[in-house]
Amino acid sequence: MRKLLRLGVIFLVIGLSLLLTTALRGSPIYIQPIKLTITPHEWVMLNPQLWMPRSIKLSLFSISEIDVYILDEYGINAWCEEKRLTSIFTLNGVKQSTLELQLNERGKYAILIHNPSDLHLDVYISITLYMLEKDLLSASIALTTMGIIAIITSKILPRYATRGM
């Protein structure tokens, strides 16, 4: 029982430390605004980035309408290898917009922009990541719960064992 109690305490400490760490990591990240010049009918994919399961705010500004696609790793591969468009989020015909995304998975993501017009366009994009990382939060809650269960079990089980005797 003492070993179970110790294990429970260790799990609890790891869980609580991760929980606090998750809160500390939750500060917003502002990515430097990106300026792109897109030629008529051109498709431009920004460098793939590592995005966490947080909320993402994407602000766009263009002088004419553009199409914006958010691709995950599968979408990036499909686009790079076969020029097949498989996006997780699509925004057609926008000039100025702020969109908010809730990502559920950590991984490689990229922004693909299409200029359907006959004009040379300057496009400005700024990205902000905010809120807590969901996977880290779930893991810390799970570890804390496991720790609490192990501690309670180690306290309750000996009582039943004594009653049984």
């Binding site: 400490v13 991760l18 760490t21 990591r25 990240i29 460098n47 950590r106 490689k108």
Partner: protein
């Protein structure tokens, strides 16, 4: 027989020195120091650079942990008379010394490796990412050096509190004096080591001389071995009262 004694002493050391709440504090400190920074290098190709974004705090916390643990284990057990009691049993001094060193070194390194490993899923890295292992090697070398310094000071001073303070202040003081010197300061050595292997693993011709890397690796090993040998000889021959 010696191996059995060593194993039993390691278990004794674990129960004595790593009881509640020491292990919990070390785990918690390691998690805070390694994982508290948000991911800032978002470019997917260079995301491994987040591994080193927190090395300053990690280094500071590591000095505190090593100082506290080794002072308690060596100087503390000497001042409390535990070593004298243990030596009244048929235990060889070198086995006692090694058991203390192995236990504390392995536990601290294991905690740090475990916490650093959390970076693999968090940064979507491959488990075979070479930079991750470069970082662990660098950590291992640095931990060896800090442990050797802490053991040496603990045995010389024999007072838990003073040896704890000395084990912290000496590495920190040297760090301040050394500034960003690429051989003398931890951060300088770490940066040189990391940059060399980063260039190598990313298919670039390293701009850093190979001799510098050899020196960066051999310097902590040489000092660690020297201090460790001196401490070992001193512990084997000292008067325990």
């Amino acid at each position: 027989m010696n191996l059995k004694s060593l194993f039993r002493l390691i278990i004794w050391e674990l129960e004595e020195n790593w009881s509640f709440p020491i292990l919990e504090i070390v785990i918690s400190a390691a998690i805070f120091s390694i994982l508290n920074q948000p991911i800032t290098h978002l470019e997917f190709e260079t995301r491994y650079r987040n591994l080193i974004s927190n090395m300053g705090i990690t280094h500071l916390i590591l000095i505190l942990i090593v100082g506290a643990v080794f002072s308690r284990s060596f100087a503390g057990s000497l001042s409390r008379g535990e070593v004298k009691t243990l030596l009244s049993y048929p235990i060889k001094r070198w086995i006692l010394f090694l058991s203390k060193f192995y236990t504390n070194f392995i536990v601290i390194f294991a905690v740090y490796v475990a916490v650093f490993s959390l970076h693999i899923p968090l940064l979507a890295l491959s488990p075979f990412e070479p930079i991750f292992y470069v970082l662990l090697t660098s950590l291992l070398l640095h931990l060896m050096l800090l442990c050797a310094v802490a053991i040496f000071l603990s045995l010389m001073i024999k007072n838990e509190i003073i040896s704890f303070l000395a084990s912290i202040l000496l590495p920190l003081g040297l760090e301040v004096i050394a500034g960003n010197d690429k051989f003398l300061s931890f951060y300088g050595r770490f940066e040189l080591f990391f940059n060399y292997f980063e260039q190598l693993t990313r298919g670039r011709l390293p701009e850093i001389a190979f001799q510098d890397v050899v020196l960066v690796i051999s310097l902590p090993i040489f000092i660690s071995v020297l201090l460790f040998t001196l401490s070992f000889i001193y512990f084997s021959n000292m008067q325990v009262d």
